[in-house]
Subunit: 223 residues, 4 copies
DNA sequence: AATGAATGAGTATTCATTCAT
DNA sequence: AATGAATGAATACTCATTCAT
């Protein structure tokens, strides 16, 4: 009853009640899982970061595994929609679309300290959480690839890009960005001076990709 | 001959193999670390797979952590050194040198089901074992980057490559390969049908890089 | 009343006794340490004797060593303090004060089968637990010596005692009592018939000390 | 065969052969047992200090317990004989005999870093090695007490000492010296600045005892 | 006689999970 | 709904002991 004071939040904002708890726990858990990895993450740390005690976690999640899965599922949701919307509404040049998609990836995910952390988690735990791995594959990876495949194919069909092995090039696009995300949340934390390229990474990367995709006048590329 | 007497142990039980043991333990440890992850790997399992008991591990390594370091050092330490040798002895075109280095990386690491697993391990555990992360950085990452930087710079100086932001391009080279290695040991294990590109990945990648690096006749690249 | 609800636990199982637990654990630990010695004392035995399980010990003490320190502090910490209080409030003859202090030592420590066991423990483990040894020195030994030093000095200044080498005589006072305590918990346990003097030890000891400290008419003491 | 070089020692002294081994091991073991206590003493350290390897210890002693018992038995031997010889041959004043005995105890045992260490060991381990405790009692303690008892009784009979409770006074003589020996090998090792009296301990002690034993002219001792 | 590689039982410590309040 | 005291299974590490050489 005395607690009701909390429900009436002075700022009129979101009040701390049981409805908010799962989200707060998921938030806190994401942080800790990312920092420590699944095995080393302690329920007590997660609870503390969410401002509750260990026991409370079990009111919302049956065990650590379920919490982990909820964290991933919840964080995954926001990562997909945008790309498809962008592609669907785009009518201009394929290069511009590619740039736009990369720009969004960069700003919304790579630069977001929370969103950028998921790949590391999934790479580390996929074998122990195959169900999660499959969800991630279906929700993030396959749609993401399809998106990039479409862009490349569109560009090739229009003669904007040279004909390349689309599925492979998709990996060349995904690889450097995911690699960077992983490093941000692993080695770079442990090795203080470590750099991940020399500034303006996104611009460099766009240029790199478009240079590679540019149609050649003659077959001058590779011997 | 003298060695054979030791290797072919008549009795399955205790046998003296002081010279061979560290290697056998490192081998077994690599397997178990890759399968289970560092934290979940039990010293007893590692020992058992090496055909010894727990205690024996501590005759050769002071720690679980030291064993892990030995695994990394032993598995990848030599690889980068070999790359530098190749580069040092190379006098031909930078593109050929790049191809040669990528070929070695591909065949000796990416295609080796054990060596290819280490980046995933390191990414997963770097935050919890900073000492290990720093060792990996010094043994593998920094030398590897330096190697690729040299190749690129050599190509640019000779006019074989266009002038690019070297440190970034190094990441574009490393990214797709490490990403592939990570996938091989995580999602691909959990998602049966998952593909990592459509065949001839290495050839595609070489072509992709060289196309991007090729000097442009005019500024035709990107607006 | 509110406390009683906790103390009388209806179910033998889990009950919350946060306030009482540390004391119960210290009690149990003293027993086990005395019986087995520090190294041979198993945390599990201590826990069991306190009616809890292993894990519970770690809710209250970070370490076996810290538990040991708590045992020493709790068992002897108050005793010396009491001695100082007695000395501070004493205005009569030094001999009487000395008798009073010895009486307390005798009744509260030598005759307490648990408190009397600590010197033996400390003597046995000091080399392996220097931190503990230093704590014991500061909590028990140095204050105890200071107390006796004061009494002797007071007696000498007042002419009640002859002038003696105070620091040495302090050892002559401590020695027989600590020696007796050690024997009670070692040889006397193993050698059934062993005697530690012939009754009325305390009275004898007081007389012995006061006879030695008595001022001499002439220098008749030693040739 | 090449080893024979060891047998022919250049200095003509005691050569290292199997006959000497047990003694060397006992020597080394005494050191380590005293430093660490029985439980914390590692067979490997003992072996190393004796210049052999762990396995060798088991050629001479069936296990750690037997080695410990051998150490104590062996060291005990030297501690008894002298005192009795002195007493047997003494015809002068009891005080002089007491002084002589204390002097020998002081110089041969208290000041000998090896011999002085036994009491600590036995006090610490008597409960776990009752057989040893009984041996120590019979070989050292009881004869030692008897010796002191005789001296005191002789002094009392001759009127050199006042009539005291002999068995108690024996403890007052033994206590400070044994206490000192224990401290030398325990707290004093761990607490660097610790002092055990202020110099000339032996002289002080003799004086202290003789002052206490001196016959009183009148009943001036204690009320 | 000596070695030292190998063993494996034993224990302090951690942490996910439970449940009385 | 929330707490936090209590649990107990799990594991890294130590060291006395064995035995093939």
């Amino acid at each position: 009853m005395t607690q009701d004071a909390q429900v009436v939040t002075p700022l009129g904002g979101r009040c701390r009640r049981k409805d908010a708890r799962p989200g707060e726990l998921i938030d806190a858990a994401l942080d800790v899982f990312v920092e420590r990895g699944y095995a080393a993450a302690r329920l007590e740390d997660i609870a503390q970061r969410a401002g509750v005690t260990k026991g409370t976690v079990y009111l919302y999640f049956t065990d650590k595994e379920e919490l982990f899965e909820a964290v991933v599922q919840h964080t995954l949701g926001g990562m997909v929609a945008r790309g498809h919307l962008i592609a669907a509404g785009h009518t201009g040049r394929a290069a511009d679309l590619l740039r736009e998609i990369l720009g969004h990836w960069w700003r919304d995910i790579v630069c977001d300290p929370r969103a950028s952390a998921l790949p590391k988690l999934l790479i580390a735990e996929a074998c122990n959480f195959p169900r999660l791995a499959r969800a991630y594959y279906q929700i993030v990876i396959e749609p993401g690839r399809a998106l990039l495949r479409d862009v490349l194919q569109r560009g090739i069909e229009r003669g904007e890009f040279r004909p390349v092995a689309v599925d492979n090039v998709v990996q060349f696009i995904i690889g450097p960005l995911v690699y960077r995300q992983c490093m941000q949340h692993s080695l770079q934390v442990a090795v203080p001076g470590m750099q991940l390229g020399d500034g303006d990474f996104l611009r460099s990367f766009e240029e790199h990709l478009l240079a590679s995709l540019a149609p050649t006048v003659a077959g001058t590329v590779a011997p």
